[in-house]
Symmetry: C2
Subunit: 396 residues, 2 copies
C-alpha cells in the first residue's frame, strides 16, 4: 500500500544528529557530535539508593497511572527551584511535567500551530526543535544569530514580513548549537518586540543550570508580564537524559491546553522517575551535585579551547561559551564542510555540519558543532588535534 | 494575552476519565471508574531486584540518551513474543518502542492525518484514542458496536459516505469500554472492507494478554497481507502502567514516519524502564506472571457478574467479557445516566457515563462503564450492590 502521510510528516527526514548518533556505536569514534551529557554527570549511586527505597516504600504508586500534570511533590519542588534560580513567578505560572524538554517544544507547537503558521527561530537552532515545528507543517523563518543573541533588527524585519507568525523559538542561554548566551539588552528588546507583535516566546533552557563562567542573565520568563512566554527545562543534563523527565512553566490558560495535548501523547511521564527526581531534589544536595557538573564542563571546555587556540588555523573562528555543552566553529565562507565532516569521520572524529541546524537547509553553512561534554579529556585533545589536521586540506 | 490555539486543541477538553481520576484521591471512593490495572498485578519484587542490578551493571547506558526506535534487545524480545502469541510476522513488520500504547495511537494519527481527514471508530470507543484524533482536527465517524464487534454493514456505509477516510481505529479484543471481543468472521470482513477502500487499520490491543475465558481470536495484524495494519500493544496492564512503555508493530515504510514523529515528541522512551522490561521478559517467567493476572481478573470479573446477576434490575443489560478490565452496562433508553452517575458518586461509587466514549458526544447514551480490576473483592460486591440500589431511583 502506498501510504498517504500527513503534510507535516510526508517530507520530514530523521534528524541528522540522531542518525549520526546511531553510527556512534563504534567505540573508537571520538564523539564530538552527539548532544549527550557526560556519563560521569549522572549521580548513579544516589539514584540507585533512592530507587531501591522507592520500590520498598511507594511501589504501588510509582508503578500505577498518575495524573497528566505530573507528580505533585515534584511539580512543587521544581516550581520552587525555578523561582529561586531563574526568577520564575510560581503564582502567575503553572508547572507541567513533560517527557524531556523535547516534549515541551512539541506540546507548545501542538497547542498553537495550524499547518502553514509561521515559527521564527534563531539561525542556527536546535534541530530537534526545528523538526518538531516542521512536523506540524509550520513555516520556519530563521533569523541570524549574533554573538549577543538573535539579531534584533532582523527579528523585527521578520515579524513585519510575517504578520501571521505565532511563535519565536529561542535558546537564549548556552545556545545549541552555538554556545552563545543572549545578553540582557537583547532579551529586553526581543521581549518588547514579541509583545508588540503578539507573538509568543518559547524559551528553551535545557542548559541553564550549567553555567561555568560569568553571571546569570535573567530568563525571558522572569520578565514575562504579559503571559507570552512558555519556559521549557529539563533534568536531562543534570540527572539523566535517558529517563526523559523535563518540565514546562507557562501561564495556566496556556498550560491547560498543553496538558490536554499531553494526555493524547503519553497520558503522563514515567511516574517512577518523576518520584526519583523528587527524592533526589529533596534528599540530596542538588546544588553541590550541579556544581560538580559545572566544574567538569569548565575543565573540559577550557581544555578544548586551549587545544583549538594551539592547533586551529587562524582563519577558523569558534565561540567561547560560558556554560552548556557546545562550541560552534566557523570556517571561511565557501569551505566544503560536508567534505571536512566526512574526512574527520574517516579519522574517527564525529562532528555535526552546520547545515543540520539551519531553519532553511538550502543555505550553505561554513560551520560545524562540537561538544566537549561526552569525550574524555584525552579524547578532547586528540580529537581536536585531528580536526586541526584534517582542516588543512579544506583551507586553501 | 488571548492565545490563538490550534484548531485541533482549541475546543478540546480534558478527558472526562482523567478528570474523574483526579477526584479519586478520596480513599473512600470505590473506584469502578478508572482504567487502572490492579496494583497487585505489578511484579514489584522482581522489578525491584532487576532494577538494583541494572543500576549496578548498566547505569551508564540506562541513564544516557538512547535511539528513538527503542532498546534493541527489548525490540527483539517483543517481536518474538508478538510472533509467538499473536501471529505477527517479524519479517514483514518493524517494531517501535513507544511511551505507552497511547503514544502509538498519537504517532499513527500524526503520521497520517491532516486537519479534516476522517477517522472511523467503534461507537463507543476509548476516549484517549478519540481525543487524540480530535487533537489533530480529524473528523470522527462512529460506527455502532454489536456483540460481534463493529457492525460490518454500517462500517461499509460509513466508508462509502466518507471516501476521504484514512483510518479505522479499533480495539478488537476486550474492547474498552464494552469488554466485547470482535469475532473472526467480523475481523475478516472488516479487513477486506478496509483493504478495498484503501483505509488503514489501527489495531489497539492493550488487553490482548488478559484473556481469562474462551479462545484467542487472530489479530488483524496476523492477517495483514497488504501492510495496512498498525498494531499497538503495551506493558501497562502486565508490568506497570506508570512506567509508560508500549510498542507498535507496523510495516517498515510506515513505522519510519512514526519514528520521525517520535523524535520530535520525546526523542525516545525512558531507557531504564525499557531495559527493565527486557530484563523481566528474559529473566523471569512472563507467562506464569500473566497467568496470575488472568486468574485475578477471572475471579474479580466473575464476582462482579454474580453480584450484578443477583442485584441488578432485569431491565439493565451488561456484557460478559472473556478478558480485559471492563464491563459495559446498558440501562433502558432515556434513562438519566448523568443523574445516576452523580447519585452513585454521592454514595462513593465512581463509574463513567457512556457519553464519555462517544465519537459523537451529542448523542445521548444510556450506558455506563465499570471496571473490576482496581477494586478489592469486598469493594466489588459492596459497590455493585450500591449501584443496584442507586439504579432503582432511575428506572421508573
Amino acid at each position: 500500500m502506498e501510504y498517504r502521510f500527513s503534510n507535516g510528516l510526508r517530507d520530514l527526514k530523521p534528524s541528522a544528529i540522531r542518525e549520526i548518533f546511531k553510527s556512534l556505536s563504534d567505540p573508537q569514534i571520538i564523539a564530538f557530535a552527539a548532544g549527550n551529557p557526560a556519563a560521569e554527570s549522572f549521580p548513579v549511586k544516589d539514584l540507585s539508593r533512592l530507587s531501591a527505597r522507592l520500590f520498598e516504600t511507594q511501589a504501588a504508586t510509582a508503578l500505577q497511572y498518575g495524573t497528566t500534570e505530573g507528580y505533585m511533590p515534584l511539580r512543587k519542588a521544581v516550581e520552587s527551584r525555578l523561582q529561586e534560580r531563574f526568577g520564575i513567578d510560581s503564582e502567575a505560572n503553572e508547572l507541567l511535567i513533560v517527557s524531556g524538554g523535547q516534549q515541551g517544544i512539541d506540546l507548545t507547537a501542538k497547542a498553537l500551530l495550524n499547518p502553514g503558521d509561521t515559527v521564527i527561530a534563531e539561525s542556527p537552532s536546535f534541530i530537534g526543535g526545528l523538526n518538531t515545528f516542521r512536523s506540524y507543517a509550520a513555516k520556519l523563518v530563521g533569523v541570524e544569530l549574533t554573538e549577543k543573541g538573535i539579531c534584533v533588527e532582523k527579528l523585527e524585519a521578520a515579524l513585519k514580513a510575517n504578520p501571521q507568525a505565532k511563535l519565536l523559538y529561542t535558546i537564549p542561554t548556552f545556545h545549541n548549537p552555538s554556545g552563545i548566551t543572549t545578553d540582557l539588552p537583547t532579551r529586553k528588546a526581543v521581549y518588547e518586540l514579541c509583545k508588540r507583535y503578539g507573538v509568543m516566546i518559547l524559551e528553551d533552557n535545557p542548559y541553564g543550570e550549567l553555567r561555568f563562567a560569568g553571571e546569570d542573565v535573567p530568563t525571558y520568563k522572569s520578565m514575562d508580564t504579559e503571559g507570552i512566554v512558555v519556559y521549557c527545562g529539563s533534568f536531562s543534563k543534570v540527572l539523566s537524559a535517558g529517563m526523559r523527565v523535563g518540565f514546562v512553566s507557562a501561564p495556566k490558560g496556556f498550560v491547560s491546553k498543553m496538558t490536554v495535548a499531553k494526555q493524547g501523547q503519553d497520558v503522563h511521564t514515567n511516574l517512577f522517575f518523576q518520584m526519583l527526581c523528587h527524592a533526589f531534589m529533596t534528599q540530596c544536595d542538588m546544588d553541590a551535585h550541579i556544581d560538580g557538573i559545572r566544574a567538569l564542563y569548565r575543565r573540559k571546555c577550557a581544555l578544548m579551547l586551549e587545544t583549538m587556540d594551539r592547533c586551529f588555523d587562524s582563519r577558523v573562528q569558534y565561540t567561547r561559551p560560558d556554560g552548556g555543552l557546545f562550541l560552534w566553529c566557523t570556517m571561511p565562507e565557501g569551505t566544503d564542510i560536508d567534505g571536512f565532516v566526512k574526512a574527520a569521520l574517516a579519522k574517527k572524529v564525529a562532528v555535526v555540519p552546520g547545515v543540520a541546524f539551519a531553519p532553511d537547509p538550502t543555505v550553505p553553512s561554513p560551520c560545524f558543532r562540537v561538544t566537549y561534554a561526552t569525550p574524555t579529556e584525552e579524547q578532547i585533545v586528540r580529537g581536536t588535534e585531528i580536526l586541526a589536521d584534517t582542516m588543512k586540506d579544506f583551507l586553501k
